[in-house]
């Protein structure tokens, strides 16, 4: 279709006049986007980098004469020294780690299950189900957090449901007990063994690292799974629709059961999408902020404190701007590592794309390239959508 023209797109030998026109137009067209991105993305990062190694106290410009370079002091304060800053940072990492460990597998499995169900070949009401599962993903994180904390209030819908089956539900938003500690308590382990109570990392004991998410954190975890599963379901549906029917049919003729076909035929083919969803989830779950700000403010007992919220709190509430910026950079480093990991995992597509270009292939020529391209675009969209939900992130 488009191949003949696309191949040469922008690459034909232009006359000098046209090229000069294109230079001006190109710079003019990209200028607004580039200037905005530089002023509100690149410059802020550089400025925050300076603040993270300075003693700026929040008044006046961070570049004024009274502000001094303090080296890595702010980074040291949050990672050593035994102070409150260190244990708060350790606590926030602990909380977020448990959040990631629960949210990422749960949302991925749920999204895949929803996609497989909705993608069944003959299905009435497909559109209805898809809409029902996706709708939570488009609502505002604030509105849904307000709702969620109402459902989980001590006399809310969740406890009313538990009451119907004879269980007295906990005071969810006020219960700071770690879930694993609670489980250990059930089997009689009330206090930590000495080797877990004495040692520790970042100001909290190993015993506390192993507390598990608090009961209060479960509210935010369930909220994240509820709102992101729909977005990732769409990614899986797209991938499922791109699979060839032939292999599946062949397996069916072979007498494979539905579960066998799914596990041995479908799942291996979904691997690239699975990686995309997992890594988007990994990146996104480190960014929980809206839900904490709206719903819990870090309570109960600091067990919903996350690095993103801690950074906000350190700066805007405690006026510790240097530490706030330092926390943001440590969080940034975590996310950059995860992003690089993602791009490394998905790298093959980039190579094949370039190779195809070199060989004269174009997007329209090759189904495989188009699929990869679509997945990338879809991931970008999903990333944008999931960005604010604390479940999925930017590409």
């Amino acid at each position: 279709m488009t191949s003949a023209t696309v191949r040469t797109g922008g690459r034909r030998p232009h006359g000098a006049g046209i090229r000069r026109g294109q230079t001006a137009a190109g710079l003019l067209f990209t200028a607004p986007a580039v200037i905005l991105l530089v002023v509100f993305l690149v410059v802020p990062i550089l400025m925050a980098l300076w603040v993270s190694v300075s003693d700026w106290g929040g008044r006046g410009s961070p570049f004024s004469a009274g502000v001094d370079f303090v080296g890595l002091k702010n980074y040291a304060a949050i990672t050593s020294g035994g102070g409150l800053a260190e244990s708060d940072f350790g606590t926030s990492l602990r909380n977020n780690l448990w959040y990631v460990l629960l949210v990422v597998p749960l949302q991925t499995v749920l999204a895949l299950a929803l996609a497989s169900l909705v993608n069944t070949r003959i299905l009435r009401g497909r559109g209805f189900f898809r809409t029902a599962f996706y709708f939570p993903s488009v609502t505002s994180s604030v509105a849904i957090t307000v709702l969620w904390f109402f459902l989980f209030n001590p006399s809310g819908a969740v406890n009313a449901l538990l009451g119907l089956i004879g269980i007295k539900g906990p005071n969810w938003p006020a219960d700071a007990d770690g879930v694993l500690h609670d489980l250990l308590g059930l089997v009689g382990v009330q206090s930590p063994p000495a080797f877990l109570a004495n040692g520790g990392f970042l100001g909290i004991t190993w015993w506390d690292w192993l507390a598990g998410p608090s009961v209060g954190m479960l509210i935010i975890i369930s909220l994240a799974v509820f709102t992101t599963s729909g977005t990732f379901m769409l990614l899986f549906i797209a991938a499922l629709q791109n699979l060839s029917q032939e292999v599946e049919e062949a397996a069916m003729v072979d007498g494979a059961s539905a579960w066998q076909r799914f596990r041995l035929v479908t799942l291996p083919q979904l691997r690239p999408t699975l990686f995309t969803v997992l890594t988007l989830g990994l990146i996104g779950t480190w960014q929980v902020f809206d839900q904490v700000y709206t719903g819990s403010k870090g309570d109960p007992g600091k067990t919903t404190l996350t690095p993103a919220y801690l950074s906000y709190q350190a700066g805007f509430i405690n006026q510790q701007w240097g530490q706030a910026a330092a926390i943001a950079f440590v969080l940034f480093a975590i996310i950059v590592v995860l992003t690089l990991f993602q791009r490394w995992v998905l790298r093959e597509r980039g190579v094949s794309k370039r190779r195809m270009r070199r060989n004269g292939f174009t997007p329209g020529d090759d189904g495989r390239y188009r699929t990869a391209d679509r997945t990338l675009t879809a991931a970008a969209i999903a990333g944008g959508v999931a960005d604010r939900r604390g479940g999925g992130g930017d590409l």
């Binding site: 190109g26 986007a33 996706y134 488009v138 505002s140 083919q269 969209i381 930017d394």
Partner: protein, 305 residues
Amino acid sequence: MTTTTSTTATATASPVSATPSTRSAPAGRRRRTPIGRVLLYAVLIALAVVYIYPFLINIATSFKTDAEATADPLSLIPTTWTAQAYETVFFNSAFPRWFANSAVVTIVVTLGRVLFDSAAGYALARLRFPGRGVIFAGIIGVMAVPGVVLLIPKFLVLNQLGMYDAYSGLIIPLVADAAGVFIMKNFFESIPVAVEEAARIDGASTLRLFWSVVLPMARPALVTIFILSFQGSWNELSHFIVASQNPDLFTLTKGVASLASGQLGAGTQYPVRLAAAVVMTVPVAVLFVVFQRRITNSASGAVKE
């Protein structure tokens, strides 16, 4: 069951290229039994209830009294209907102001993104100019910068530029949108250049070509950017937190979040909060209904539709 066991062996050996070899038993057909169908629908309907019921509770509770909201949290029909919560929201709070602020921000940000994203995307896809590669690499790079990391940094820059606590500070930074540029560039690379070439030969300037030939062709992708921008800026919270503290500049998200953390004064007042949540969800719900097909298909590459 013996047949299925041996299939496992075959399929494990070469999962992807499983071919119809020796098998003749149509064992797979069995799953088309009515019981299987009933089970499938039962599971789907149960899941749909789980996904929809919270929103029904949300709407129902907004029409309940404070006492009933917690006394009977599961019921969908209030015993005493009252619109008290909505009266409070519309006539007795700053909610209308927040709504107006959100509307202004969303409209300007969406228009700005549609224009700037498509211009930059077009230039990166079609025009040859020095610095193009660097710019594109930069855009891919900044796409990876997570929003929450920018909380402190954005505040610093807005403060430095004198844009803190001003509409300009709420709006302009949100217009920056690397992912949108990326989507538009991908789109333009996927459509034929023939029409543009023809217009160019006719002597149209690049600006004119872009405005009257390229943009009309790009409608599907522009709609995608529109949806993403509208939804993104209407639901945005963290940027508004760091860009202002003046209550007159509160947007819906920031305002309703402040309700949630107890600025209402005495009592929990769940119906009022939930009424606010309902009203702020209406615009995105409308957007969702209008563009439903496109949104739920967007992940399958509808950008190119």
